[in-house]
C-alpha cells in the first residue's frame, strides 16, 4: 500500500550512551561555548525564581508595613533583575544555537566529504535519495538536539533546583505540601508521553500511507481514468483519509486529557497552598508574602516537567538520525590508494589489459579474460551490442572498480600501484548521458578548477565547435545551466562535455559516444569535435559513429563479455563475422547521410 522506508521509520531509544559519546566528540571544538552556556544557564535559572522571592519581600516588608520608598526601591531592583535575566537569556539562546549550528555544519561537511570517498559500488547499490536524506534531514534533526534539547534539559534541571532552594528556604513544610501533587504530575506525564508516542507513531504511519497513496495514484492517474476507476479510487482514498483522521482524533484525546489535568493539578497545588499556608498565616507562623511566592513557584515548577515529553521526542529522533549518520560514516567501501604510490612522471599513455576478469556482483562476470593493448597516441574503438560489457571496460581504466582477476597497466605500471588522483588526472572521460551541474557554462567546462583560465575555456570551446552557440547565449559563458541542463539541447550538452574533456588536457581520453539522434548540423559539429579530441592522445572509444570507427587504429568487437574480433574496419568487414552484422545494424545508415 505504501512505500514507507522502514529504515527511516525506526524510532529507538531516546538515549544511547555509545551514540551520545560519539556525538559529544563533535562538541569538543566548542568547549568554550559549552562553558559559557552552562554559566549563563545557572544565572538565568537563578534569576527567574529570584523574582517571586523579591515580590514576597515587597509584600511582607513594604506593603504590609506601608513603606513607600522601600516599595519603589524593591520595584527598581525587580526591574533590574528582569532586564538582566532578559539579556542573559538572549545571549544564552544565541550562543547555544550558534554552537548547535556550528556542530551541524561540521558534521554535514564531514559526512559529505566521506561520501565523496566512497566507491561507485556504494552508489550503484544505494538510492541517491537516501544518501541525500542522510546529509540533509538526518543532520538537521540533530540540530534540535544540540541547540535546544541538551541545553534546555540542563536549564530545566537548574530551574527546578533553584526553585526548590528558594522554597525550602522560605518554608520546608509548605514546600512538601505544595509539591505533594508532583507524583501525580510525573505519573500523568509519563503516561501521556507513552500514549502520545504510540498515537504519534500511528498518525505518522497513517500520514505516510495517505501520502504514498496519493503519490502513487497521481503517478498512475492515467490508469485510473483509462479504466474508469475514479469513483472507486474516491472510496479507497476516503478510507485512507478516514484512517488518518481517526488517528489524529485519537491523538487529540490524549492532549485533551493531559493539558486540563496539568491545569487541574496546578490549581490543586494552589488550593493546597491556600489551605495549608492559609492555616499557617492565621496561626501567625507564616506571612502572606510567602503564600504569594509559593503560588508563583508552583506555576514555574510545572512548565519544565510538562515539557519533558517533548524533549523525549527530540532525543529519540536525534538518536535515530545519528545512528543512521554514523552508519554511513562507518561505511568503508572505499577504493584505497597504495601506501606509497608510484609517481607518474612523463606519462605517455600506454594501456594494457591483461587477462582481466570483472564482475559487479560475486561471480557474474561481465568481462571474461579480456586482453588488449593500446599504444600511446592510438585510438581504439570498442563495438558490441548492448550488454556486451563495453561500459565496464571504461569504468575499470579509471579505477572506479577494482578487477577480480588479471591486471590493468598504464605505461607498464599496475593501476593499483598508482594514486587514484594521479591516474584520473591523466584521464578525461565523456559519458553517453552528459551530466551538467547547475552553475554556468564556464563552470561546467572547468568544473570549478580556478587554475583553468577563461581563455583556456573559450579556446577549448572553440576547438570543439561549442563556442559558436555559446557566444550566442545572452550571458555567453556565464549563462546559467538550469537543473539537469534543460536550457541546452542534447547536442549542445555533448559539445560542452567535449570542451570539458579537452580543457583538462588528458593523456588518455575515454569517450562513450552518445547514440541519441541530433540534427544534421549538430551531428557534423560533433563528428568534427571528436576527431579533434582524439588527436595526439590515447583514446578508447565506445563507438556509435561510423567516422570514429573508420579512423580508429584498432577495433575491438566485444560480445557477451568476451573479445571476439580485433582488427581494422576493412579487415573486420571482410571477415563477415559479428562486426559485419553489427555494422549493417548500427552504422550502415550513417553512410547514406
Amino acid at each position: 500500500m505504501s512505500n514507507i522506508n522502514k529504515d527511516d521509520e525506526i524510532l529507538g531509544k531516546a538515549y544511547d550512551s555509545k551514540l551520545m559519546k560519539r556525538l559529544l566528540g563533535f562538541v569538543k571544538p566548542y568547549k568554550k561555548y559549552v562553558v559559557i552556556a552552562i554559566i549563563m544557564n545557572v544565572v538565568v535559572a537563578a534569576l527567574g525564581p529570584l523574582r517571586p522571592y523579591l515580590i514576597k519581600i515587597a509584600i511582607d516588608d513594604y506593603i504590609v508595613n506601608s513603606n513607600y520608598n522601600g516599595l519603589v526601591a524593591i520595584s527598581a531592583i525587580l526591574f533590574v533583575v528582569l532586564m538582566f535575566q532578559a539579556i542573559v537569556q538572549y545571549f544564552l539562546t544565541y550562543y547555544t544555537q550558534l554552537m548547535g549550528q556550528n556542530i551541524i555544519y561540521d558534521l554535514r561537511i564531514k559526512l559529505f566529504a566521506h561520501v565523496q570517498k566512497l566507491s561507485l559500488k556504494y552508489f550503484d547499490k544505494t538510492p541517491i535519495g537516501r544518501i541525500v536524506t542522510r546529509v540533509t534531514n538526518d543532520v538537521e534533526s540533530l540540530n534540535e538536539l544540540f541547540s535546544s534539547g541538551i541545553v534546555t534539559i540542563f536549564s530545566d534541571v537548574f530551574i527546578i533546583i533553584w526553585i526548590l532552594i528558594f522554597m525550602f528556604f522560605m518554608s520546608w513544610n509548605l514546600t512538601l505540601v505544595s509539591l505533594s501533587v508532583l507524583p501525580i504530575l510525573f505519573y500523568a506525564t509519563f503516561l501521556f508521553r507513552k500514549k502520545v508516542r504510540e498515537s504519534y507513531r500511528d498518525v505518522r504511519f497513517q500520514l505516510a500511507r495517505l501520502n504514498s497513496y496519493m503519490q502513487e495514484h497521481i503517478t498512475g492517474m492515467s490508469i485510473i481514468q483509462l479504466f474508469s476507476r475514479e469513483n472507486r479510487e474516491k472510496e479507497v482514498f476516503s478510507d485512507i483519509n478516514d484512517a488518518h483522521k481517526t488517528a489524529n482524533i485519537d491523538s487529540i484525546f490524549y492532549y485533551a486529557v493531559f493539558f486540563p489535568i496539568v491545569e487541574i493539578l496546578s490549581s490543586g497545588a494552589v488550593a493546597l497552598i491556600i489551605w495549608y499556608g492559609g492555616g499557617n498565616v492565621i496561626q501567625g507562623t507564616m506571612t502572606i508574602g510567602v503564600l504569594f511566592a509559593f503560588i508563583q513557584y508552583t506555576e514555574m515548577f510545572f512548565r519544565p516537567i510538562r515539557d519533558l515529553s517533548e524533549k523525549y521526542n527530540v532525543m529519540q529522533t536525534a538518536m535515530a538520525s545519528s545512528e543512521r549518520i554514523f552508519k554511513l560514516l562507518d561505511n568503508s567501501k572505499i577504493i584505497q590508494n597504495p601506501n606509497s604510490p608510484k609517481p607518474l612522471v612523463n606519462f605517455k599513455g600506454n594501456v594494457d589489459f591483461k587477462n582481466v576478469w570483472f564482475a559487479y556482483n560475486n561471480e557474474e562476470y561481465v568481462l571474461k579474460d579480456i586482453s588488449f593493448s593500446v599504444n600511446a597516441g592510438e585510438t581504439v574503438a570498442i563495438v558490441g551490442a548492448t550488454g556486451a560489457g563495453k561500459s565496464s571496460i571504461i569504468n575499470l581504466l579509471n579505477r572506479f572498480y577494482d578487477i577480480n582477476k588479471g591486471q590493468i597497466l598504464v605505461d607498464g605500471i599496475d593501476l593499483r600501484e598508482l594514486s587514484k588522483e594521479d591516474l584520473r588526472n591523466q584521464i578525461s572521460i565523456v559519458l553517453q548521458d552528459v551530466f551538467l551541474f547547475s552553475g554556468t557554462i564556464a563552470s561546467n567546462i572547468n568544473l570549478g578548477d580556478e587554475s583553468i583560465t577563461k581563455e583556456q575555456i573559450i579556446e577549448a570551446a572553440k576547438i570543439v565547435g561549442a563556442d559558436s552557440f555559446i557566444s550566442k547565449l545572452p550571458s555567453q559563458y556565464n549563462e546559467e545551466v538550469k537543473e539537469k541542463g534543460a536550457t541546452l539541447s542534447v547536442g549542445q550538452k555533448q559539445l560542452v562535455s567535449f570542451a570539458r574533456a579537452l580543457v583538462f588536457n588528458p593523456r588518455i581520453l575515454i569517450l562513450d559516444e552518445a547514440t541519441s539522434s541530433v540534427d544534421t548540423e549538430t551531428e557534423n559539429l560533433i563528428q568534427k569535435a571528436i576527431q579533434k579530441l582524439l588527436v595526439g592522445r590515447t583514446s578508447i572509444v565506445i563507438a556509435h559513429r561510423l567516422s570514429t570507427i573508420q579512423n580508429s587504429d584498432k577495433i575491438i568487437v566485444l560480445h557477451k563479455g568476451e573479445i571476439k574480433e580485433v582488427g581494422t574496419h576493412q579487415q573486420l568487414l571482410s571477415k563477415k563475422g559479428i562486426y559485419y552484422k553489427l555494422y549493417q545494424l548500427q552504422y550502415k545508415d550513417q553512410e547514406i547521410k
Partner: protein, 581 residues
C-alpha cells in the same frame, strides 16, 4: 482575506458541534476566570476574618472550579479540534475528487511533487486555521473580555496601568513571527539548494571522480552549508528575542502591579487579595496576548495556501462530458474512423499527427510501426481520449468520439500503455483493476492468455502476491504481461497494445499472440510495436513518419515496397542472427 470565507461551507456542515465547542469555551473560561476571585476572597479573609473552615471551603471551591474548567477544556478539544480534523478530511476528499477529474495534460505538465506539496503543506496550513486558530481566537477573545471586565470592576486604574505593556507584546509577537517566517523561507530555500547540490553531486559522482573534483565539490558544499548556517543564525538572532521579550513585558506588568497596587494598598484603596487576583489575571492574559500575534500569522499563511489550492480548483477540466454527450449510446461495437485528424500538444508546438485519415473496421487488427517520437502513442491516446484532437474528428461506430459518454468509451477500450504502471497492491487486484467484482474464472482466463499463470504459480502467495516496494518486484516482461491481463479483464471491444511486448521474449510473445487471436476474434485491435514479428499478421499495417502515414498495407505488400518497413525488417533479422552467436 475574503478567500477564507470560502471555507464557510465546511464550517456549516459542523454547525452544531462548532456551536457546542464555542459554548464549552465560554463555560471553561468563566470557571477559570472565577478562580482568582475566590483566591482574592481567601487571601482577604486571612486578614479580616481568619477562619480555617472558611479557608478550606475556598480551597475546595478553587479545586472544583479548576476541575470544571478542565473538563470543559477537554470538551473543547473534543469538539473544535475534532471538527478541524473532520474539515481537513473533507478538504482532502474534495481535493482528491477534483484531481481525479483533471485531464491527462495537467498531470503531464505538473510534477507529482508539486501536487503533493499542495496536498500536504497547503491543506495542513488551512487546517491550522480551521482548528487551532479558530479555537484560540474565540478562547482568547472570551478570556480577554471577561478578564478585563473583572479587572476593571476590581480597580480601573490598576487595570489600565498593568495592561499597558500587553499590546506591545502582541505587536512584537506579530512582527517577530512575520520576520521569522520570512527568514524561515530563506532558510528553506537554502536548504533546498543544499539538497539539490547533494543530489547533483551524488548523481554526477562518475564525473567528479574521474576529473578528481572531490576537494572542489566539498568546498562548494561547505560554502553553501556555511550560508545556510548564516541564514539560520539570522533567524535565531530574531527568534532569541522571543522569550526575553515575553518575560520582560509580562514581568514589567507584574512590577507595575506591585508598585502601583502596593501604593494603593498602603493608601487603603485595595486589598492584598486584589493584588493576588490581578497577578493571576495577568498570568491568564499572557497566553491570549501571544496567541493574537500567532493567530494573525496562521490566518495569513492559510490565506496564501488557500490561494494556491484555488489555482488547482480553477484548473480547466479539459476532457469531460457536456451537452454534446449522447447518453443514449450505451455500447460500442468497435469500428474506428479517423477523419483528417491533426493533433498537437499545445498551440505553439509542432503537429504530432497531421491530417490522418484511416478506417479500422470492427474485428480487424491495425498495426502501427515507426521510429520513436513519430506520434504512435499520440494516435492511440486520442482513441481513449486521454487527449482530444486538435482538428478533424474520430468516429466510433459512426458517432463522434466526443459524443460517447466517457465511461462507456473507456470501459470498452482496453489499453496496455507503453509505460507499465502497476499499483503496489496484490496481483489479483491489479489484474482485476477495471472489474467491479473479483472473479476467479476471469482472473485465470486473462492470466492464461497473457502467459502469466506459470509465473504466478511460482510466487508463494500466487495471485495474492503484493507488488511494489513492500512486495516483490516483477521483471519488465512480467509487468507488461500483467498490464495486458488487466486490459483483457475488462472485456474490451477495442484493445490497444502500445509497444506492450518490448520486454517479453519472442517465444512468449508468439504464444501470447496466438492466444490473443482467439480472444480478439470480433474485437478491434491496434498494436504498436518495434518488432516485425508482432505486427506481421495484422490486417493492415501503417508506418508513421513525422506525423503522417508514410506506408500502408499488409506485411507482404510493405516488404515489396522496399521502404522503411523493409529496412526495419532486415535489421531485425540481423539482430536475431547476432543473438545466436
Amino acid at each position: 482575506m475574503t478567500r477564507l470565507f470560502t471555507l464557510n461551507k465546511y464550517f456549516k456542515k459542523y454547525k452544531g458541534k462548532m456551536s457546542l465547542g464555542i459554548l464549552f469555551i465560554l463555560i471553561s473560561d468563566i470557571a477559570q476566570v472565577y478562580i482568582p476571585l475566590v483566591l482574592k476572597d481567601s487571601i482577604d479573609s486571612l486578614k479580616k476574618n481568619p477562619n480555617i473552615e472558611l479557608i478550606i471551603k475556598y480551597a475546595l471551591i478553587i479545586f472544583a472550579l479548576a476541575v470544571l474548567s478542565g473538563f470543559f477544556r477537554y470538551m473543547i478539544r473534543q469538539t473544535i479540534i475534532v471538527v478541524s480534523r473532520k474539515i481537513e478530511f473533507d478538504i482532502r476528499q474534495d481535493f482528491w475528487t477534483h484531481l481525479l477529474r483533471l485531464s491527462h495534460r495537467y498531470f503531464q505538465n505538473t510534477s507529482t511533487g508539486n501536487i503533493m506539496a499542495h496536498a500536504t503543506n497547503d491543506i495542513s496550513a488551512v487546517r491550522m486555521y480551521v482548528g487551532p486558530a479558530v479555537m484560540y481566537s474565540i478562547d482568547t477573545s472570551v478570556k480577554f473580555i471577561v478578564v478585563i471586565i473583572i479587572m476593571l470592576s476590581l480597580s480601573p486604574i490598576l487595570t489600565v496601568y498593568t495592561l499597558i505593556p500587553l499590546p506591545i507584546l502582541s505587536y512584537f509577537v506579530y512582527k517577530l513571527s512575520k520576520k521569522i517566517h520570512k527568514k524561515f523561507t530563506l532558510i528553506q530555500e537554502k536548504f533546498s539548494d543544499i539538497t539539490t547540490m547533494a543530489q547533483e553531486n551524488f548523481s554526477g559522482m562518475r564525473i567528479i571522480k574521474s576529473y578528481v573534483r572531490e576537494i572542489f565539490e566539498i568546498e562548494k558544499f561547505a560554502k553553501e552549508s556555511s550560508e545556510y548556517r548564516k541564514r539560520n543564525m539570522d533567524k535565531i538572532k530574531i527568534q532569541a528575542l522571543f522569550a526575553p521579550l515575553l518575560f520582560l513585558i509580562t514581568g514589567t506588568s507584574i512590577i507595575i502591579l506591585i508598585l502601583v497596587g502596593g501604593n494603593m494598598i498602603i493608601d487603603g484603596k485595595l486589598t492584598l487579595g486584589d493584588i493576588a487576583a490581578f497577578m493571576f489575571y495577568l498570568g491568564l492574559l499572557i497566553w491570549p496576548t501571544i496567541a493574537f500575534g500567532w493567530v494573525a500569522n496562521i490566518v495569513q499563511q492559510a490565506d496564501a495556501s488557500l490561494k494556491r489550492l484555488q489555482t488547482i480548483y480553477n484548473e480547466e477540466i479539459e476532457i469531460k462530458e457536456n451537452s454534446d454527450t449522447d447518453k443514449s449510446i450505451t455500447k460500442i461495437n468497435g469500428t474506428i474512423k479517423f477523419e483528417n485528424v491533426t493533433f498537437k500538444y499545445m498551440d505553439n508546438l509542432p503537429e504530432v499527427l497531421s491530417n490522418i485519415s484511416i478506417e479500422i473496421p470492427q474485428g480487424s487488427t491495425l498495426a502501427i510501426v515507426g521510429h520513436t517520437g513519430v506520434g504512435k502513442t499520440s494516435f492511440v491516446n486520442l482513441i481513449s481520449r486521454l487527449f482530444d484532437v486538435s482538428s478533424g474528428r474520430i468516429l466510433i461506430d459512426g458517432n463522434d468520439i466526443k459524443s460517447i459518454p466517457l465511461n462507456i468509451l473507456r470501459e470498452n477500450v482496453g489499453m496496455v500503455p507503453q509505460e507499465t504502471f502497476l499499483f503496489s497492491d496484490s496481483l489479483q487486484n491489479n489484474i482485476l483493476y477495471g472489474v467491479e467484482k473479483a472473479n476467479t474464472e476471469l482472473l485465470n482466463k486473462v492470466s492464461d492468455i497473457s502467459q502469466l499463470t506459470k509465473d504466478v504459480n511460482d510466487f508463494p502467495q500466487k495471485f495474492n502476491t503484493v507488488l511494489g516496494e513492500r512486495g516483490i518486484t516483477l521483471s519488465g516482461g512480467q509487468k507488461q504481461r500483467t498490464c495486458l491481463a488487466r486490459a483483457l479483464a475488462i472485456n474490451p471491444k477495442i484493445l490497444i497494445l502500445d509497444d506492450s511486448f518490448s520486454a517479453v521474449d519472442t517465444k512468449t510473445e508468439e504464444e501470447i499472440l496466438v492466444n490473443l487471436k482467439e480472444f480478439m476474434k470480433d474485437r478491434t485491435s491496434i498494436i504498436i510495436s518495434h518488432r516485425i514479428s508482432t505486427v506481421k499478421d495484422a490486417d493492415n499495417i501503417i508506418v508513421l513518419e513525422n506525423g503522417i502515414i508514410k506506408e500502408q498495407g499488409t506485411h507482404e505488400k510493405l516488404l515489396e515496397l522496399g521502404g522503411i518497413y523493409y529496412d526495419i525488417h532486415y535489421k531485425q533479422l540481423l539482430e536475431e542472427e547476432l543473438e545466436k552467436e
